[in-house]
């Protein structure tokens, strides 16, 4: 239970950075933390389902491999989203010279 609470706190830190911070890169930090919290929750909870890693030939009973295969996909998608978001932040910085989203919105108007 405490593990899930800490992961819940990590999730809320990610959400806090996403919404409260005005700097674009800090918002992308928040998204990365949010994604890693979800991956940690899935793998930490699945760890209880067995003794050994899902490689056949080991001694104990294997852990449920489905969450691991799903989280592989989730991690790679998280990194792709991060790379694209930072590309956009870069272009916004080039266009307006600011990294603060409210400042950028003012300088852009709705051009």
């Amino acid at each position: 239970m405490t593990a899930r609470l800490i992961i819940g706190a990590l999730f809320m830190v990610g959400l806090w950075a996403l919404v409260a911070k005005r700097n674009l890169v800090k918002k992308v930090f928040g998204l990365t933390i949010l994604n890693s919290a979800a991956v940690l929750l899935f793998i930490a909870e699945a760890g209880a389902s067995g003794g050994g890693a899902p490689i056949m030939g080991g001694g104990q009973r294997i852990v449920d491999p489905i969450p691991q295969a799903l989280m592989l996909t989730a991690i790679v998608i998280g990194v792709c989203v991060t790379a694209l978001a930072l590309g956009m932040a870069y272009r916004l910085y080039k266009a307006t010279g600011s990294m603060d989203i409210e400042e950028i919105r003012k300088r852009l108007g709705n051009g």
């Binding site: 800490i6 950075a17 800090k26 933390i33 793998i43 490689i55 592989l72 790679v76």
Partner: protein
């Protein structure tokens, strides 16, 4: 053990979010990635550990450092 590593991950990500210098934040985030990779290994998920280390710590740190180098390093108040 698992709770200790999770607590360390929580503290590092709090530091990453609250630090004024974005480069320190990036280092803290790659620390989070490394710690979660170790944690995945402890949780009997080696594939996810390698992915988190290679993709999470490797690629996203490179992208963050590039982004910060191309923009400003410190968060304007």
């Amino acid at each position: 053990m698992i709770e200790a590593m999770l607590a360390a991950i929580l503290i590092l990500s709090l530091y990453a979010v609250e630090s004024k210098d974005l480069l320190h934040g990036t280092i803290a985030l790659s620390g989070v990635s490394l710690l979660s990779s170790l944690l995945f290994y402890v949780l009997k998920a080696p594939d996810v550990a390698i992915t988190e280390a290679a993709v999470g710590a490797g690629v996203s740190t490179v992208v963050y450092v590039w982004a910060i180098k191309s923009m400003e390093r410190s968060e304007s108040p």
